[in-house]
């Protein structure tokens, strides 16, 4: 049981997908302007990533490995993820049209979110079983959501700040992300969770 906890905590804090692995930066910068959007994006990504980890494990384990099709791994993972993303998009469009509109292009772009492809591939590399894969996927996505929400909160406050003209907009966002990344390096001290 504790090993599962370690997997989740390690994925959320120590190896945070955004700040430490530097994956999924596109939606991280793109949809972090408002807190509500960030929460929506985080939820969507969490769902997609957890499902993608499960599906990719199953495909890898039962389809690719037995038939010696490992060279198709990336390709087949992308197809699977694309299908899950499309499904998520349909559901969001139905349940929350506004979130759908706000997430806009970033929703289909989850497909090409390197975090979503990267985590399943990492799973294979780390030799996780199905449950571990899903937990790792969920933990990483939770880490992504955490990063996104923290960052959105900061950016909302930054809107009222006296930022020097040349640093306004994306520049100050990049600087903020860098400082946050430094802060997350502190979690490397949690040696057990690596």
């Amino acid at each position: 049981m504790t090993s599962y906890l370690f997997i989740i905590l390690g994925a959320v804090l120590v190896n945070n997908v955004v700040f430490v692995r530097v994956l999924g930066l596109c939606p991280f910068m793109g949809v972090s302007r408002k807190l509500e959007t960030a929460v929506g994006m985080g939820a969507a990504t969490t769902f997609v990533l957890t499902m993608a980890c499960a599906a990719s494990y199953l495909i890898d384990h039962w389809l690719l490995a037995p038939y010696d099709l490992i060279y198709l791994r990336t390709l087949s993972f992308i197809v699977t993820i694309a299908a899950i993303v499309q499904f998520t998009e349909l559901v969001i469009q139905k349940t929350s049209p506004l979130l759908h509109q706000v997430l806009g292009i970033y929703l289909p772009l989850i497909t090409t979110n390197c975090a979503v492809l990267g985590i399943p591939l990492l799973n294979i590399g780390l030799g996780h079983n199905l449950v571990e894969s899903m937990l790792f996927g969920f933990g990483s996505a939770a880490g992504f959501t955490l990063a996104l929400i923290l960052f959105a909160g900061i950016r909302e406050r930054l809107e009222g700040a006296d930022v020097p003209v040349h640093f306004r907009g994306t520049a100050i966002a990049m600087i903020t992300a860098g400082i946050m990344s430094l802060a997350f390096m502190g979690f490397a001290g949690l040696d057990k969770f690596k």
């Binding site: 909302e156 406050r157 809107e159 009222g160 700040a161 006296d162």
Partner: protein, 590 residues
């Protein structure tokens, strides 16, 4: 002894009350010209009842309450209405609004007054009296008192806290006219069937509290018989139900919700008012005005104004509403280095744009400022989020957050932080180590939000009207179509009858089948089609010949009813003709 409570936050500025509180209230001399604004409070206006050139008597009504929150306005003295015109008001905007300019005749002739026996009148009549007397809250907000006195409550609080520095008008009023304040309080208590009356007086005014004590003790017990309306008027004045309570001096103890908290322990939450918890609060000046209005029939035409600050003779003056502030200031002999005049106190007041504006019902204090007495504020520095404002806020807001979002014009966030709970008391700005004018930001944000709400309402109205117009246009179009169809049918029937008559008279051969002819002439394609696909027989040729003859006859007779047709009708006729031509063509060939 009653247990007292404490409200959160608050500050203790130096009171500076001694200078103006020392001398008794002086009656200000009658000015030559008085300017009485028809709009005395932020909420409601009055409908103008006089015209230029009219003679008015002292206390004569010149504007009646308009709308639910309006209040009446009266002539402060007898004289001639010189003009009804727009004059600048004592308002932070410096904008002008309609005023009556009255030239005093110096005779001070009163209009006929009709006092009431407050203990023997129906509460509705007493309330109407308060409304007609134009009584508004004299603490500064000038909210109409008859509106506030509508509810049934448990505890009536008479606010004599007067927490703001420099101001002493309530202090002097309590010392000198305590009897009338207590009478007014009892009248208000009866109106609202209050079970107890608390006078809250800050403990830095012992003389005022003592005077009220004496007045409460010396009040004759009011007539015991209760009034007809359910339970109202059952109020008995005795030592148990009226208490004068000294409250600790702490700004803003005179805030309505703060004083309620101190005296009763009730904390009124966001969006609620005192009456929701059985408490209502009136200023001592208002209670005094109520007593004058009910017992003497006098409308509210004067008030006590404190002259404080940079004056040689600071003090309190009994001033007629409409007196130019210039003239009033002269009574206090302002020192030569006076650079601006603030209406209200140093915490919540605003600088007057011009001292030519008149005294209004809300003018409790005129504070003369000089660079020595009130040094100009040093430049503000950035907020360091020290939290001093949060500790000082009497309504437990987070002023630094409100400031942050108001400054960024993020009004949605300011509302999430309950901007509209802010009472603009100025405690946060008072304690701010960075000297940020916080209240200015809140006022800015509040008025922006209100403006947006107004725009939203206007937009909703416009949308509704636009959609209704579209609906109406659709309906009219449909109605017109129905009308035209009816008219066309009528014309068709008429033509058919005429043709039938002609054909019937001329051709016996086709008399058996008049239907076909009719339809052909009227131009209805459906029937003709059946005719054309009908089995060819001998009759068909006959019919065709008859039709040709009929057409020739019809062509010879000019149509009778096409003289004055509308374009629409002409178009329809043309269309019918075209259809007829089409129908005739194949038959001819056949």
């Amino acid at each position: 002894m009653l247990e007292l409570f404490r409200f959160p936050g608050g500050v203790k500025p130096v009171s500076h009350k001694e200078a103006s509180a020392a001398a008794p209230i002086t009656r200000a001399p009658l000015p030559k010209l008085l300017v009485v604004p028809f709009r005395q409070s932020a909420t409601g206006a009055a409908t103008i009842q006089v015209v230029a050139g009219e003679k008015v008597l002292k206390g004569q009504i010149i504007g009646v309450a308009e709308g639910a929150f309006g209040s009446a306005v009266h002539a402060p003295t007898s004289g001639l209405v010189r003009a009804i015109e727009s004059r600048m008001l004592p308002h932070p905007s410096g904008l002008a609004a309609p005023c009556a300019v009255i030239e005093a005749d110096g005779e001070e002739r009163w209009v006929e007054l009709s006092p009431l026996d407050p203990f023997d009148s129906d509460p509705e009549i007493v309330r109407a009296k308060i409304k007609d007397a134009g009584i508004v809250g004299l603490g500064g907000a000038a909210f109409p008192s008859h509106v506030k006195a509508k509810t049934v409550i448990d505890t009536l609080i008479i606010n004599g806290a007067e927490c703001e520095p420099w101001i002493t008008c309530d202090d002097r009023l309590m010392r000198e006219r305590a009897d009338e304040i207590v009478s007014g309080a009892i009248i208000l208590g009866r109106l609202m069937a209050a079970k107890r009356i608390f006078f809250g007086v800050e403990d830095n005014k012992p003389a005022a509290a003592a005077a009220l004590h004496a007045a409460v003790g010396g009040m004759p017990p009011p007539s015991p018989q209760p009034l007809s309306r359910e339970g109202r008027g059952a109020f008995h004045a005795d030592a148990q139900t009226i208490q004068v309570i000294s409250v600790p001096t702490l700004y803003p103890a005179g805030g309505e919700k703060q004083l309620i908290r101190v005296l009763t322990g009730i904390e009124i939450p966001y969006g609620k008012l005192g009456p929701d918890f059985g408490v209502q609060c009136f200023n001592v000046g208002t209670a005094h005005a109520v007593a004058r209005a009910v017992q003497h029939g006098e409308p509210l035409i004067s008030r006590i104004v404190t002259l404080a600050g940079n004056f040689a003779r600071a003090g309190n003056f009994d001033v007629l509403i409409g007196t130019p502030i210039d003239a009033l200031l002269a009574l206090g002999a302002p020192l030569p280095d006076t650079d601006r005049v603030v209406m209200g106190g140093p915490m919540m007041g605003f600088t007057l744009h011009d001292t030519a504006v008149p005294v209004v019902k809300a003018s409790n204090c005129l504070l003369a400022m000089s660079p020595a007495l009130f040094p100009p504020p040093k430049p503000a520095m950035p907020c360091i989020r020290c939290g001093a404002c949060t500790r000082a806020c009497p309504v437990v807001l987070q002023p630094h957050e409100l400031y942050w979002y108001a400054r960024a014009k993020n009004f949605g966030k300011t509302q999430e932080y309950h901007l509209f709970d802010c009472i603009e008391c100025g405690c946060c700005a008072y304690v701010c180590p960075s000297r940020i004018p916080l209240v200015d930001y809140y006022r800015f944000a509040k008025s922006e939000i209100r403006a947006r709400e107004r725009e939203k309402l206007a937009a909703d109205l416009a949308r509704e009207r636009y959609e209704f117009r579209q609906f109406r246009e659709e309906r009219e179009k449909a109605e017109k179509a129905v009308r035209l169809a009816a008219k066309a049918a009528e014309t068709k029937a008429k033509l058919a009858r005429e043709e039938a008559a002609k054909v019937g008279a001329g051709e016996t051969a086709i008399a058996g089948e008049p239907g076909n002819t009719e339809t052909a002439l009227a131009g209805e394609p459906g029937n003709t089609e059946t005719a054309s696909v009908a089995p060819v027989n001998d009759k068909l040729a006959l019919i065709a010949a008859a039709q040709a003859r009929a057409a020739a006859k019809k062509a010879a007779v000019a149509p009778q009813n096409t003289a004055e047709l509308t374009p629409d009708q002409q178009a329809q006729v043309a269309e019918a003709e075209a259809r007829r031509a089409l129908i005739d063509a194949p038959k001819d060939s056949a």
